[in-house]
């Protein structure tokens, strides 16, 4: 009997390459005649290029050429990002690129280029842009709609409300309500109202977005760092307006993305266009400094929250207003945040208002749990405060408010495929010993006070309808073609497991084909929003079923009888009850002989058009399993993580030490426990960094960011997290998907961050600081009764 694969720990196939240095990331590729490109970045947060003098630079030794904004795709008339621009909208936006024989020459040439910038008014903080007469991020205004820019300003009265610590009533871009919040608040036994700030923070994956590209025989060979391979090929083709089949995309490994490299990135265009222009391979090595600017960031929130509770802990009303710092090109986090607030606390009455303001800060993008992570990190300490004032246990309050499978939430009363949030809370509480740790809450040893906290965090975790593509080759092995990116979640391998189980293969009989579009990539999801595990365990399940059926048919056609007489195991197909059998190698040979649908010369009608070229490429190589995920389903797919943290707060220094952490997830069937644990704890640690240390700092006078190094941006290090952490899963399959697995990437971020902010609030005796990051200065200022240097400012330092 073939081994069980789903739910077991198997070291990822690419691990040996990764730990021997053989794994090649984008910047590890070389090509003959390769030259280096360097970017000239805008020194101003908003400016217009009046003129550029490149004479001196072009005359320098080794300098080959200069690429200007008019040579790349520009987005006209609406907010949109071009890879090079003459109207920079943030400090650090690339203006032009220089190519030279050596990187040093390119850098020296950049220094000799004179750019005449006309500084324009800029805005860093969204509230500043809403102020009467406040600056706008664009010359045309601060909002865009109906094809044009316009100005939206709040009134002095709105700002008086804000200064008084109350929720403003300025015009929102998005507003939805359910129930009747006014009545509900009047019926609440406890109403809490807070103004909250969540900082914006950079993604800073370990690998920057370097890329190397060259053109050969009319085809672009692109070596890039991306979260989603197949979709990036199409993104590049779209940007360059070329046939996607003329893009050979190589992206075997991706050194982290966290939402910043979903389909590659805007600046991939530079080496693509530049190498075409100069006829040489171009390496664009992105430094950490540049990554700080062009590498994306999570949008920050300034928000006001009013929550009503009944004395049994039921949250009966939420009024939430979010102003989002969106950078120059926008982001949608705030909308999701409103949805997640509704989902976690299931108030019967809710009003959500939100507005995303353009700012002249580096671009924002989805960052692991976009919107969801921010909102639970901000709300959890308020829940702590409420539970304390109601004399209730936070776990009870959560259990009281957490949804069941019949939940409807958000403006469109969205439904979900499954919800086991309460099970996650209960299992987590048990592992963490929540009940036993109650007595540690508030315990004081010297200057150190203990606090415990919970964070409950849901996020989307799946999508449907992608294609699976696999071939059993005459070597007897199953080759699963993945169009995903290999960004470290191991899902690129783990989502092939269902196919292996369907075909009753051992894992070593399965080969994965990925990372090189010339080897055939089926239509895939973007590897974002935790879709992959759900979407591609289904797609590979479907293709696996297709392959299985074909194997049985080939066996029946070859050995006689009907397919139902046959079964398979361990790379052999055999007649039930004994008798004739074939190896998969023989099946593959036979399938090639049979041709037609067996070896991929005929393809199902319903697969995506973008899968067809890949399938055609593989036709005739063996027995092909190819199918679209038609399993269907209704409702959104969400996974949950319940996080539990114990912290020690030093009241004399404001330093918080996270001592213990437990996270339990509801993500359906567990494909790979150890990788799941890594996702859950890794995401939680990112959340802890978000809650405790990471920041972005701008000088308001010059609009220039200062936290542009890792040590100033402060992502968490190994000494900033608990030595021992535990992760577990509820493990109940999602009923609407054949494998039962849901994604997991996003939700742990909010859980980890919120458990910690909640625990800090607990250690401070139910005091909610209501801003992140909770750095020692902020905590100490509060404990010492000093005025907080920042109130609603978005960027602090």
């Amino acid at each position: 009997m073939a081994e069980k694969i789903i739910g077991t720990d198997i070291a990822p196939q690419d691990l040996v390459a990764k730990i021997t240095g053989r794994a090649k990331y984008a910047e590890d590729f070389r090509a003959d005649g390769m030259v280096f490109a360097k970017l000239l970045l805008s020194p101003m947060p908003h400016a217009r290029v009046r003129g550029v003098d490149t004479t001196k630079a072009l005359a320098m030794p080794g300098v080959i050429d200069i690429l200007r904004a008019d040579e790349v795709r520009q987005i006209e008339g609406r907010p949109g990002e071009a890879s090079l621009t003459d109207e920079p909208l943030y400090e650090g936006q690339p203006i032009l690129a220089v190519a030279a024989e050596t990187e040093e020459q390119a850098a020296a040439a950049i220094e000799e280029i004179e750019v005449d910038f006309e500084p324009l008014p800029f805005v860093l903080d969204p509230l500043d842009s809403l102020r009467p007469n406040g600056p706008n991020a664009y010359t045309g205004g601060n909002r865009f709609g109906g094809g044009e820019f316009s100005e939206l300003k709040w009134t002095d009265a709105d700002f008086e409300e804000i200064e008084a610590g109350r929720m403003p009533n300025g015009e929102a871009a998005v507003e939805w309500t359910k129930g009747d919040i006014d009545t509900a608040f009047s019926e609440s036994d406890l109403v809490l109202e807070e103004s909250i700030v969540h900082q914006s923070l950079t993604h800073h994956p370990m690998e920057t977005r370097s890329a190397m590209m060259y053109w050969e025989n009319g085809k672009l060979h692109a070596f890039v760092s991306t979260q989603s391979a197949q979709r990036t090929k199409y993104a590049i083709a779209g940007t360059l307006n070329i046939d996607p089949e003329d893009v050979i995309l190589v992206a075997e490994y991706c050194g982290g993305g966290f939402g910043s490299k979903i389909s590659g990135n805007t600046h991939m265009e530079v080496p693509a266009v530049f190498s075409r222009k100069i006829g040489r391979p171009v390496m664009l090595r992105i430094t950490r400094y540049e990554e700080n600017y062009i590498g994306r960031a999570r949008p920050g929130f300034q928000s006001w929250l009013k929550m009503g509770f009944l004395d049994d802990g039921t949250c009966n009303a939420i009024d939430l207003y979010i102003v989002q710092e969106s950078g120059p090109f926008g982001a949608g986090d705030f909308n999701t945040a409103g949805m997640i607030a509704d989902l976690v606390y299931t108030p019967q009455n809710m009003r959500f208002r939100g507005i995303a303001m353009y700012t002249n800060t580096p671009p924002k993008a989805a960052q692991r749990g976009p919107g969801g992570a921010q909102i639970v990190i901000m709300m959890e300490p308020i829940l702590e405060k409420a539970a304390r004032q109601l004399g209730l246990d936070r776990l009870e309050v959560h259990l009281k408010n957490a949804p069941d499978a019949d939940v409807g939430f958000g403006p469109r009363n969205s439904t979900l495929t499954s919800v086991y949030a309460k099970e996650a809370l209960e299992k987590g509480a048990e592992i963490f010993d929540w009940a036993g740790k109650q007595e540690l809450s508030g315990r004081r040893e010297g200057s150190k006070v203990t606090g415990i906290g919970i964070g409950l965090s849901p996020y989307t975790a799946g999508s449907r309808g992608y294609d699976g593509l696999m071939v059993i080759h005459p070597d007897g092995k199953l080759y699963v073609h993945q169009g995903l990116g290999n960004l470290g979640t191991h899902s690129i391998m783990d989502t092939a497991r269902p196919a292996a189980e369907i075909l009753n293969l051992n894992w070593d009989q399965v080969e994965l084909v990925w990372g090189d579009s010339s080897r055939g990539m089926p239509r895939s999801s973007v590897q974002a929003g935790s879709q992959t595990t759900h979407a591609h365990s289904r797609a590979n399940h479907a293709a696996g079923m297709d392959a299985r059926a074909k194997v049985l048919e080939v066996a029946a056609q070859t050995l006689g009888g009907s397919p139902s007489n046959y079964d398979m195991d361990n790379g052999r197909v055999f007649r039930r009850g004994g008798g004739a059998s074939m190896t998969f190698a023989q099946v593959a040979e036979r399938a090639i002989e049979l041709g037609g649908r067996y070896d991929g010369h005929e393809l199902p009608d319903n697969i995506h058009a973008t899968t067809v070229p890949a399938a055609n490429m593989l036709a005739g190589q063996g027995l092909m399993g190819v199918a679209r995920d038609n399993y269907g389903g209704s409702g959104g797919v969400y996974s949950w993580v319940a996080g539990f943290a114990l912290v020690e707060l030093d009241e004399e220094t404001g330093v918080v030490d996270i001592k213990e952490y437990v996270a339990v997830t509801d993500c359906g069937t567990v494909l790979h426990p150890r990788s799941l644990g890594a996702q859950v704890l890794g995401g939680s640690i990112q959340g802890m960094g978000q809650a405790m240390t990471q920041r972005w700092v701008f000088d308001p006078k010059w609009g220039v960011p200062f936290a542009n190094r890792l040590y100033t941006a402060r992502p968490p290090g190994i000494l900033d997290v608990p030595l021992d952490m535990k992760a577990d899963a509820v493990g109940i399959p999602d009923p609407q998907t054949p494998v039962g697995a849901k994604g997991i990437g996003e939700p742990p971020v909010g859980a980890g961050g919120a458990a910690v902010t909640s625990a800090v609030a607990d250690a401070m005796g139910g005091h909610c600081l209501c801003r992140t990051p909770l750095t020692p200065d902020i905590i100490l200022a509060e404990l010492e009764g000093l005025s907080q240097p920042f109130t609603l400012e978005q960027h602090i330092g």
Partner: protein, 314 residues
């Protein structure tokens, strides 16, 4: 020759005015030396005596006391305090630039504060209690006479002055302008450092705004580059500072010249003697006759009422 002004990149990479260059200080020191040497040469070439002129006092001593009060004690205290603070300011400003390092900033701004206080005192005092116009008057004929004398050995010596001779008055006016420039810019600069009186602010938002206009699109345009207001302030302070090197050097030079010694004594003791009075001043213009205030002749100084009563301060 070099560049007299320093430029630097502002944080946006634009070249902005930063201040005067160190060379200007050396230039000023050079000018000061040249002036002294030049004056010595000129003086010698004209064959003037190195000694104080004496006057024939026969027959004109009636009503003139033996000692004539030139500067009251408050005036002298003012002068020496101001002079001391000015020297401290110059030393603390320039000596560190010459390489001798010490903690000069605090001393400098405190000396500046002292200077401002003395000047406020002086302004009030001179308006209310002194003869304001004895120092502030200007007469074209007198000026022409002085310049003729300066340039030509054939011209007649200028008329004897009233209490403050023409060159003193001109020097005073010059130092008023230069010191005020230094003081105003100095105060602006002090706003940028930590003192017990205010929180530091590196920028001059009002200055920046005042010189901003609107561009052709009707948006605020930054006509003076950001951060450049600072540069202007530094340039004015720097120019005033180096000008003061020359002026103070000249002042000290004349104070210690033997032929002008009576001024120094006047400022130290408060009085000059009758001989000196008669030798160097026109009693019509500076009357020291008991209790009487005479009409000022055209262009002349009006007698200082405070010194008209013969007193000896020391």
């Amino acid at each position: 020759m070099g560049r007299w002004l320093d430029f630097e990149s502002n944080p946006w990479g634009q070249e902005v005015l930063q201040g005067v260059s160190l060379e200007l200080m050396y230039l000023a020191i050079g000018l000061a030396v040249l002036f002294v040497v030049g004056h010595l040469v000129w003086y010698r070439s004209r064959g003037f005596s190195e000694h104080e002129k004496t006057a024939d006092i026969q027959g004109s001593v009636a009503g003139i006391p033996e000692r004539i009060v030139r500067h009251t004690l408050p005036s002298r205290i003012f002068h020496w305090t101001m002079g001391a603070s000015m020297l401290v300011l110059l030393i603390t400003a320039f000596v560190p630039l010459l390489g001798l390092e010490f903690a000069w900033v605090t001393i400098h701004w405190i000396a500046g504060a002292v200077l401002i206080l003395t000047i406020i005192y002086h302004v009030i005092h001179s308006i209310l209690w002194q003869d304001f116009w004895s120092m502030m008057s200007f007469n074209v004929r007198e000026a022409i006479g002085h310049f003729r004398h300066l340039l030509s050995s054939k011209s007649t010596e200028p008329e004897k002055p009233g209490k403050y001779p023409f060159d003193h008055r001109m020097y005073h006016q010059g130092i008023v302008v230069v010191s005020l420039a230094a003081i105003v810019t100095g105060v602006l600069m002090t706003l940028r450092i930590k003192t017990p009186f205010w929180e530091p602010n590196a920028y001059y938002p009002l200055v920046d705004q005042a010189i901003s206009g609107l561009n052709e699109l009707g948006e605020p345009a930054i006509t003076v580059l950001p951060g450049e207001a600072t540069g202007f302030v530094f340039v004015i302070h720097g120019i005033a500072g180096v000008a003061l090197i020359v002026m103070v050097a000249a002042h000290i030079y004349f104070a210690i010249r033997p032929d002008k010694r009576y001024y120094l004594w006047g400022m130290i003791r408060g009085w000059i003697d009758r001989k000196q009075y008669l030798a160097h001043f026109d009693p019509d213009k500076w009357s020291v006759v008991d209790g009487t205030i005479q009409e000022s002749p055209p262009g002349g100084a009006i007698a200082d009422s405070t010194v008209s009563a013969p007193r000896v301060d020391d």
